[in-house]
Amino acid sequence: MSDQEDRTGNPFAAPSRHADRRASRERLLAVLFRLLTYAILACAMGIFLGVVIRGAPVIFQAQAPFINTDFFTQLPETLVVYEDAQGEVRKLSATRFEEMRSANPDRQFSIVDSYSYSGGGILGPLVGTALLIAICMVISLSVGIAAAIYLNEYSSKGRFMAAVRLAILNLAGVPSIVFGLFGLGLFCLAAPNLVPVDEIADRSIFSFAIPFTSAAISFEGWGACMLAGGCTLAIMILPVIITAAEESLRAVPHGFREASLALGATRWQTIRKSVLPYAFPGMLTASILGITRVAGETAPIMFTAAVAHKDKLPWIGDDPEASWIGRLLEFFFQSVQALPYHIYTVAAKIPQSDYNRDMQYGSVFVFMALVFFFAALSIWLRARIRRKLHW
């Protein structure tokens, strides 16, 4: 095509062959990007459907009350697979199996196999996870909100503050297994503990007796327990809480602070009355999202708090004669079952078969439903609050 033609030709004429090729390459790229985007959806749907298809039948049933209540009201126990008199292979949790056997002493059963933790329900892990989350949130919210208030309302810019912010960022990037090991070292093995003088552990780093008593303070840690796990999770989630809380504080208009101070309020009054109430909804939303993260973490609790087996609920004490303070200590200083750790156990630590698939997928289904619930709750709250609070 010559210059002459170019200038006189119709500017809206059909594109040249070169332009045609370029256009088709454009279309190809767009299709490629679209497919890759849809691949994300496919992954999410794959996981979701897989869990729902295999997990929902464990939870829901056709007859009233339509929900498998045993799954939520029983502790995990051994699953017994047996062959009954008709030669049919059936499965029952250990307790139910014993009940049935003692009710029918004349019938013959032959036990085919048994699987640990695969029978019963998930009450223990559910309760344990709830308690771990509660301890974690109490600690991380108090420390995190205090830190955010300091960072956003009091601190001035400087090198030291830059270092603090860098530390928070770095903390957010630490892999969760490192938090787990850190928690193990600090809380389980080195934190100060109150013990009888003659029971100081060999591993104690440092200990001294309290005068006139038979007790001693020993830096031997708390062992794997709820409190250690809650603290470890709290440290892990702190950067998220601090960042979110600071963000919420920053979103409160500067004018509120100015007006409050100009009216003779002190700094703390200003924060408490004119800043925190308006930052609170944002903090709430963030902490609910924090809960979903904490609930799912396995690595930080596997050394510090979680156990695969526990034959009682946390609030049932060993010693019925114990004082309330003894019970309280026993409560916080005991190990617990936790949902993510339970899933890890039934999925990876015991032999696999078709018989324990129900426990695996049932647990995952419940877990995912909980996370969805919390995520939805925080989205709903945020939308509601945005409508209510605007300035």
Binding site: S156, K157, P253, G255, F256, R257, E258, A259, S260, L261, A262, L263, G264, A265, T266, Q269, K273, S274, Y278, L389, W391
Partner: protein
């Protein structure tokens, strides 16, 4: 306030040098503001008029690095440039109204009661009710809001919100009211009402108003200070400033040669 107090200026600025970090934004300011007069600060953006205003109630403390380099500011006879001044007490005596009306997202009542609620002296409900009503009346807002004191302040119009902010400042029982471009965000009608209000309030309060609007300065103020690039160029009766300014720069500014 007795007469001997009135002889002294409400605000007295002596050889004030004010800086943000290393940057000096006010140089050698000398100024006496009289009781129960309206004093207007005019000048182009960035001339330091707002900074000077914020120095009067030490709200300048909010800006990191802001400090008085030398000189002093005396408010109601007390030097407030010392770092250990009780700013909460100072700010109760020196109220402030901001450029963008900024009521709290609370009820109208709670907005006006805020200053009393944060005060160390607790007051009874009936006394509080009285203060709220008086303040709202004084700010010419009572008749408009008396039936909806418990509704959100955000339901009011812009002009009403600004008058609410004035009522909120008045509730503290101040002697001085600082107004930082109080009509900048308002429509002409609301502006007019605020200006009327300023004229009414001057009977009881010493008012310092920063304004960009020179007509407003002539309408409401008794004295006008013209600031330019950190200097106090001219300070005199408003009539003199606008009719026979002594300084060439003042003349140029008020005639609109620059802004």
């Amino acid at each position: 306030m007795n007469n001997s107090d009135d002889q002294k200026p409400a605000i007295e600025v002596e050889d004030l040098h004010f800086a943000y970090g290393e940057k000096e934004v006010l140089r050698n300011i000398n100024l006496k503001i009289r009781h129960r007069e309206v004093t207007a600060f005019i000048g182009p953006s960035g001339c330091g008029k707002s900074t000077l205003l914020h120095a009067f109630n030490r709200l300048s403390d909010l800006v990191p690095g802001a400090r008085i380099k030398s000189g002093c500011v005396r408010v109601l006879g007390k030097d407030i440039s010392e770092p250990d001044v009780d700013t909460t007490q100072l700010r109760k005596k020196v109220g402030m109204v901001f450029q963008k009306y900024n009521p709290f997202p609370k009820s109208i009542y709670e907005n006006v009661a805020f200053g009393i609620r944060v005060d160390a002296n607790r007051r009874g409900r009936s006394e509080l009710d009285g203060i709220v009503e008086r303040s709202l009346r004084r700010a010419a807002l009572w008749d408009e809001v008396k039936d909806r004191l418990d509704t959100s302040a955000f339901g009011l119009s812009g002009g009403q919100q600004q008058r609410l902010c004035i009522a909120r400042a008045i509730a503290n029982g101040p002697k001085i009211l600082l107004m930082d471009e109080p009509c900048a965000a308002l429509d002409p009608l609301s502006t007019l009402r605020i200006e009327q209000l300023i004229t009414e309030l001057k009977v009881d309060y010493t008012i310092v108003i920063v304004t960009h609007n020179m007509n407003q300065a002539t309408r409401v103020s008794d004295r006008t200070a013209f600031l330019y690039m950190g200097d106090l160029v001219e300070y005199d009766e408003t009539m003199k400033i606008f009719q026979r300014p002594r300084e060439e720069r003042t003349r140029a500014y008020i005639s609109g040669l620059f802004s």
